[in-house]
Symmetry: C2
DNA sequence: ATTATCTATAGATCTATAGATAATGC
DNA sequence: ATTATCTATAGATCTATAGATAATGC
């Protein structure tokens, strides 16, 4: 069948690295992910990506239009499975929302931590504001919306006014995305453990008041408002 | 005195922008901060920085050895005041640790949110791993250590084993640093409100078990109250 | 004939230095 | 004399395209 030694097209010049088996597109994506994570997106050259994937710089253009296309595809491929899970969980009306939210958090952290490379840091690149990443941004926004809905179905969440909910959701989502960024700086703990600890932390943020509900309560800020009071 | 029109040296070519009054070094730092935040570090050229500061590209080298030097100085100037506050708080033995941790969180978020530009995103640049940023990394590590000590003096924290404490501290620190990154994506709420909401969320993470660890909740700004009641 | 690669390179940067210039200060 | 700026530019990239080449497929 595949007979890996017999491929169409001019053979590669660099015979160093083992074939890896993956199709060239995937090789390129992997190389890009690794380099973006290591050196940063802007600092990574097309030459570096191609070379790490075992081909010459120009050959990359046979598969991708440039660095941006690589980044866009990487970002979308990270966030899409997460959105799918989120939708599935959102539909499971019979299970408690807290539980589902916990699962979503855990699995998102795991997804980003366990992936071959830490793509989390790419989410926040200034480049991602560009037109080319509109799809990614939309999918990510939808994911965040799923978080919001799950949070709203939570005992604590349902007691919040709309803007309080929004704020709390931003914090929760921020924890998930933020924490992956600094994963390395924590203690060297298995991804599973880390993911569950993060999910639990997320639920605490979600959780109504531990002591009593309100959020930016503090009293300060706007005085008055904030209520949400729930009950004691 | 200063008679701003009469400065030594060849006059600037670009007479467009208003003088701003700041010394050139500061102008450069401000321009760099703005551009790093807008476009990203690697994507910002020395020319862009200099030009925004109102001078020609080459002139920048009169003040800084290059882009990295600008970044190093910006990072250090952000984290240093924070470390100072942390040390001060750590020394205030008479006040409850929960309360002090809350203040530290709040003020860190505020520092990063309110600053002229969102420097938070710079913390995680891959470039920051380089030799040139050793000082910054050390100061930041010391700051994190302060968080850890405060957390350990907390009712909930004191009950944790060492590695559990470490993990929880990583989450807490991650929340603070992570959340500033995504500040914009939340609801448009005043920085004060956002900072307090984040501080409260941080205390929830710090807080012991979900069902019981109460927090320095509602207490506020000062007023000794706040107490985080200990037991159940 | 088709395909996947290669080599070569034009054009567009960007950095960092050299050396000139236009102010004030003495 | 000193200083802060300027202009000019060498050298080092980096991207993206043009066109050649070495396989397989028919």
């Amino acid at each position: 069948m595949s007979d890996s030694g017999r491929r169409v097209g001019r053979p590669r010049a660099d015979r160093q690295r083992p074939p890896s088996g993956l199709p060239p597109r995937e090789e390129l994506l992997g190389a890009a992910a690794a380099l973006f994570a290591e050196r940063g997106y802007a600092a990574t050259t097309t030459r570096a990506v191609a070379e790490r994937a075992g081909m010459r710089q120009a050959t990359m253009y046979h598969y991708f239009g440039g660095k941006e296309e690589l980044l866009a595809e990487l970002l979308e491929s990270t966030v899409t499975p997460s959105l799918e899970l989120a939708r599935r969980l959102l539909a499971e009306d019979d299970r408690p929302a807290e539980r589902r939210l916990w699962e979503l958090c855990r699995s998102d952290v795991l997804l980003l931590c366990e992936g071959p490379y830490n793509l989390g840091a790419l989410y926040l690149l200034p480049e991602v504001r560009g037109e080319r990443f509109a799809v990614f941004r939309r999918v990510r926004a939808e994911l965040k919306e799923c978080y919001r809905r799950l949070l709203a179905r939570t005992a604590a969440g349902s007691a919040l006014p709309a803007d309080g909910l929004e704020l709390r959701n931003a914090l929760l989502f921020g924890l998930i995305e933020g924490v992956i960024l600094i994963r390395d700086s924590g203690p060297p703990v298995p991804a599973e453990v880390f993911a569950e600890a993060t999910a639990e932390a997320a639920l605490r943020i979600a959780g109504g008041g531990i002591a009593h509900g309100r959020i930016a309560d503090g009293g300060i800020a706007d005085g008055g408002g904030a209520v949400a009071g729930a009950d004691a």
